[in-house]
């Protein structure tokens, strides 16, 4: 425990990465600073092309930052080549070795480190069991489904017990059930092994349910870092609010507020009444979704918003209603 508090995890300091391209340099990662605690489940969340993979590659040592530094437990790892970093990656494209069996793929890292054979055999067996591929050890990667390949890639990285495990959209090819199981499995692994997980995903539900903290990225920048709850409840920018969950944005005046910026609120935070409220509008659609019902309301200013209610309300399309939103649930974004 003492050791854990002494080590300071992964510190990324003002790291930028610029790629040359025919249309001028591309800033894939722009002046990013992050501190990731030991044994944290840290998620990078953001739309396609925002620089998530590039940031991971710099941590792994596969790309060299154009500027900035990366410290692991107070040591600058910039001079270390990828093969000397205690970091392993589960690649977005899996990158399994096609000429090796599943077992040989998983054993590769330990073999390269010169671990004794008995230790390797034991660890590989455990890793195979962990990803539920006990009977597939002698297969070649091409003989596996996409989801199975992804699990081999996971086992191949985990078996080395790195300090940091980088996961680039590592559950995306799995079906819903297996994905949920693997999410729980990953969380358990992270708690039990003490490995720091840096997880990249597009999927906000996955990010919210698994992460200790999330960094939301936008065009090479970090838009916000915080716990899932902080990010959901107090998004720093409109981009974050939009990206995580659904968020309505309307002019302050539409809600009868005296402000010249846009105000946001979550569909589940607002409700409506036929009596007095914050802004007036008419119900345009009612979408029954099973657990919740969505009401699409057109405000008097012409803006369309979505509300969700757990229980169906006694209203019909074209009814006039007013919004009711607890003031502390209103989102005022700086940008």
């Amino acid at each position: 425990m003492i050791l854990k508090t002494m080590s300071s995890g992964l510190v990324i300091q003002t790291v930028s990465k610029t790629f040359p391209s025919p249309t001028g340099p591309v800033r894939a990662v722009d002046n990013v600073s992050l501190t990731i605690q030991p044994n944290e489940f840290f998620t990078l969340l953001g739309p396609s092309g925002c620089g998530k993979t590039t940031l991971l590659r710099m941590i792994a040592g596969l790309d060299i930052p154009t500027s900035g530094s990366i410290l692991l437990d107070n040591q600058d790892i910039a001079p270390l080549p990828a093969y000397q970093r205690p970091v392993n990656t589960v690649f977005q494209s899996y990158a399994l070795f096609p000429h090796m069996t599943v077992t040989d793929n998983i054993a590769f890292g330990m073999k390269m480190q010169g671990k004794p054979k008995t230790e390797i055999d034991k660890a590989v067996k455990e890793a195979l069991a962990l990803v539920r591929l006990d009977d597939k050890g002698e297969r070649m990667p091409a003989q596996l489904s996409g989801g199975q390949q992804q699990r081999v890639a996971l086992a191949r990285a985990l078996v080395n017990h790195p300090k940091i495990l980088l996961l680039d959209e590592s559950l995306s090819a799995l079906d819903y059930k297996l994905r949920k199981e693997m999410q729980i499995e990953l969380k358990r692994l992270q708690r039990e092994t003490g490995i720091t997980f840096i997880f990249v995903t597009h999927d906000q539900d996955e990010a919210l349910s698994m992460s200790d903290r999330i960094a939301v990225m936008e065009k090479g920048n970090v838009a916000q870092i915080g716990t899932p709850q902080e990010i959901y409840d107090r998004p720093a920018t409109r981009f974050v609010a939009d990206f995580i969950g659904i968020c309505n944005f309307v002019k302050a005046s539409s809600l009868g507020l005296n402000d010249n910026c846009d105000i946001g609120f979550r569909p589940e935070d607002a409700s409506f009444t036929v009596g007095r409220g914050m802004g007036k509008g008419n119900i345009r659609h009612i979408n029954y979704r099973g657990a919740v019902t969505h009401y699409i309301i057109e405000l008097e200013g012409g803006e369309t918003i979505t509300l969700s209610e757990d229980d169906p309300q006694n209203v019909e399309v074209n009814d006039a209603v007013s919004l009711v939103i607890p003031p502390e649930r209103l989102i005022r974004c700086t940008a």
Binding site: L62, Y83, V87, S93, A95, M112
Partner: protein, 292 residues
């Protein structure tokens, strides 16, 4: 469906015909000749006989006795040795070249490829002659060595195994480079990154990932170098001054001045058998792995 199936043999017939005329017929002719009797100074006649194959091992002395004569076998051995050596050297030199080319930016690769194929713009005979100008006693190498004072008298480079080997290496290197390059260029370099992420040094990555994945190219290159170099004719003739005879020269000699067509044919069959054995050794993947 029915029509397509009926058409298939018909569509194949040009291919079968070409194979028949250019491949099977000459081969059968050679095999056939090798079992016939020599008609000096050229041509064959009946009866059928195994004489030609006996000549591979035995010579007939003045009294008409058969005595064991290893000279032909020695030529076979020398050809095998030189061709094998040439293949290994081409691989040693060609793989790094191909690797270098495949790791250049895409725009530059075509330029490098063109540079590798430049020798093909000139006839092999002329290129082999130009090696004589380089290697002979008054040639480029000796001129440089003597004018810089490294040696006082010319070193004899010509007419040696060294000169023949150099000529072979030079002639066939592009046949090794190009298939390996084609293979490396298609390779998924993300696998190399994955290997280095998994603690493999660059050397380990090369041995465990890059070379195994390039094996088809290495195999193709080795075959393309080994086959023509074992039957090579020009380099031993010109650079070996005819003294360092290889199988190709022996066969030429038997069909030409020697006038013994059946023996020439039997020698060709022997060459084919040696090539087949060589290919069998190579295509056992381990064989190539040890060469690298």
């Amino acid at each position: 469906m029915h029509g397509v199936r009926n058409a298939a043999p018909w569509l194949l017939s040009p291919f079968l015909m070409i194979m028949g005329v250019f491949f099977a017929a000459p081969l059968l002719l050679v095999v056939g000749y090798s079992f016939m009797t020599a008609h000096y100074p050229g041509g064959v006649e009946f009866p059928l006989t195994l004489d030609a194959y006996v000549k591979i091992f035995y010579d007939t002395d003045f009294d008409g006795n058969k005595v064991f004569d290893p000279s032909f076998l020695l030529i076979c051995w020398k050809s095998l040795k030189l061709a094998g050596l040439c293949t290994i050297l081409c691989l040693r030199a060609g793989f790094p070249m191909a690797y270098f080319m495949a790791t250049r930016p895409p725009q530059q690769r075509n330029l490098w490829m063109m540079l590798v194929t430049i020798p093909f713009w000139t006839n092999l005979l002329i290129r082999t002659y130009s090696w004589i100008l380089i290697l002979r006693d008054e040639g480029l190498v000796n001129n440089i060595l003597m004018s810089t004072g490294i040696t006082s008298s010319p070193i004899t480079l010509m007419c040696s195994d060294f000169a023949v080997g150099l000529g072979l290496l030079y002639s066939y290197l592009p046949f090794m480079v190009l298939p390996i390059y084609a293979n490396l260029e298609r390779m998924d370099w993300r696998l190399v990154e994955a290997a280095s992420d998994l603690y493999a040094t660059r050397w380990q990555t090369l041995r465990k990932v890059t070379i195994p994945l390039t094996m088809p190219g290495i195999l193709a290159g080795s075959i393309l170098v080994f086959i023509p170099s074992i039957g090579s004719f020009l380099a031993p003739q010109l650079l070996g001054c005819g003294q360092q005879m290889m199988l190709g020269n022996k066969i030429e000699n038997l069909f030409g001045q020697g006038g013994d067509w059946p023996f020439g044919s039997a020698a060709s069959v022997a060459l084919m058998i040696i090539v087949m054995i060589g290919l069998m050794i190579m295509s056992r993947r381990g064989g190539i792995k040890e060469l690298v």
